[in-house]
Assembly symmetry: C2
Homo-oligomer: 258 residues x 2
């Protein structure tokens, strides 16, 4: 049997340690095609590039294994997936992975995440996919527990499959493999970013702003959420889907607004 | 009673005709605060700016009415909403509007849309919101039917309200007011972008790509969808929500993957 084909991208860019960790994990399982952004694209969500031309460049020195091919793209994570699947491949890969992200994509952060948008884009092409994130923003983060548990999850996706259009949003607590209590399948926490703009003056007395903030968990007592799982030592796996319809509200509008 | 405060943004940028049309409609209903991107940001989805500082500049000449104040921002539509709500206002506006977009945001296009992401961002702040789009990409598009029906919808949101966290994705067919058959409350169509990258050579023989494609409706016979409504002469109103959890798949994973 031919080895499975694993397509990998991320939003931290081709040089990130998390991408390297995911490629090292994946090449022990199958053939790997990497198409990653040239630059950092955190917080780029489902953005696509339409105003400047896209470029794709093969990396000759990314990995010494014959099972790994790598390209770099000047676009967003979603551009990498679209261009890679459309232009570089004639057959669909067996799975698309995005990450390993440096930092959390749990709760409402999922909506801003370039990592998860890339995985979700692949699911729109009918390919099972998974975004992996570690709750550590440091460029030097230790990904060994993510690699061990992530490897099991990749194999599960390859053997058991996912329903069409579904992608997994997987977040890992900052813990060693022996400290992690297991994997929880859970729902997205209702959370809100409490925003705070840092107002500064440039050398010419012009005002500028930096976005900062922190996530507020609006349901801290709920035990079936990704935030609860992460706070209690579990890997949080949330299956996500692209239908944004608010069905309960739709029924309310049909009844009250006609 | 004080006039309602209407916050307006878009993704086509401060100079677009659609924004002007929405401001003209809104100022007949209440006080208006515009915070719009400097440049075009179509397809920017929920992208936020974290790598360059944000700037906010008051426009002295956007509108002659005392009820209209306008700012321009160098960021994305979502940045405009976050920065405007956090920095410019001490109280929440009564409604946030985004648009009028030049082009459709129905079906799966909603996931790429900067227009709808901006409206959804406001809903995350607990403010009722609505994104308005006309299925005409032309810069010179005629927005008069959108203005007439949109005005009614804005008043409905102000008087009847929306459930917390909900935003309305409203798309208008290219028709005159007398041709439009009414407003349909519907769900997001299951659709897929059929992508096609246009490969070209620059003057130095370097390859580059332009994204193009067309939307495929995967359920053309379903009559409760936004695509059906638009194709049959209706304004399509889809309530959307930020929880991306795939609940049916979650139950399947809990049963089969443990």
């Amino acid at each position: 049997m031919q080895k499975p084909l694993i397509f990998i991208t991320n939003d931290d860019g081709i040089r990130s340690k998390g991408l390297r960790a995911l490629v090292d994990t994946a090449k022990a399982i199958g053939r790997v095609l990497v198409v990653a952004p040239e630059a950092e694209h955190s917080g780029q969500s489902h953005a696509i590039t339409t105003q400047i031309p896209l470029r794709l460049r093969k990396m000759q020195d990314y990995d010494s294994s014959d099972d790994v091919t790598a390209y770099v793209c000047n676009g967003t994570p979603v551009d990498c997936v679209k261009l890679g699947l459309t232009h570089l491949l004639s057959d669909k890969p067996d799975v698309v992975l995005s990450g390993i992200n440096h930092g959390s994509n749990s709760s409402i952060s999922v909506i801003y995440s370039g990592t998860i948008a890339a995985a979700q884009e692949a699911a729109l092409y009918g390919i099972p996919s998974m975004g992996l994130s570690l709750l550590d923003y440091a460029p030097t983060a230790n990904f060994s527990a993510v690699q061990a548990i992530g490897s099991d999850l990749i194999k599960k996706v390859l053997t058991l499959g996912l329903s069409k259009g579904i992608c997994l949003n997987v977040n890992f607590p900052i813990m060693s493999l022996s400290e992690i209590r297991g994997v929880k399948y859970c729902r997205q926490t209702n959370g809100t970013w409490n925003e705070n703009y840092d107002l500064r003056l440039d050398p010419y007395d012009g005002e500028y702003f930096w976005l900062s903030g922190s996530l507020v968990n609006n349901e801290p007592d709920a035990t079936d959420t990704d935030e609860w799982a992460l706070a209690n030592g579990y890997v949080a796996v949330v299956p996500i889907q692209p239908d944004m319809t608010a069905y309960a509200e739709l029924e309310r509008l049909k009844a009250k607004w006609q």
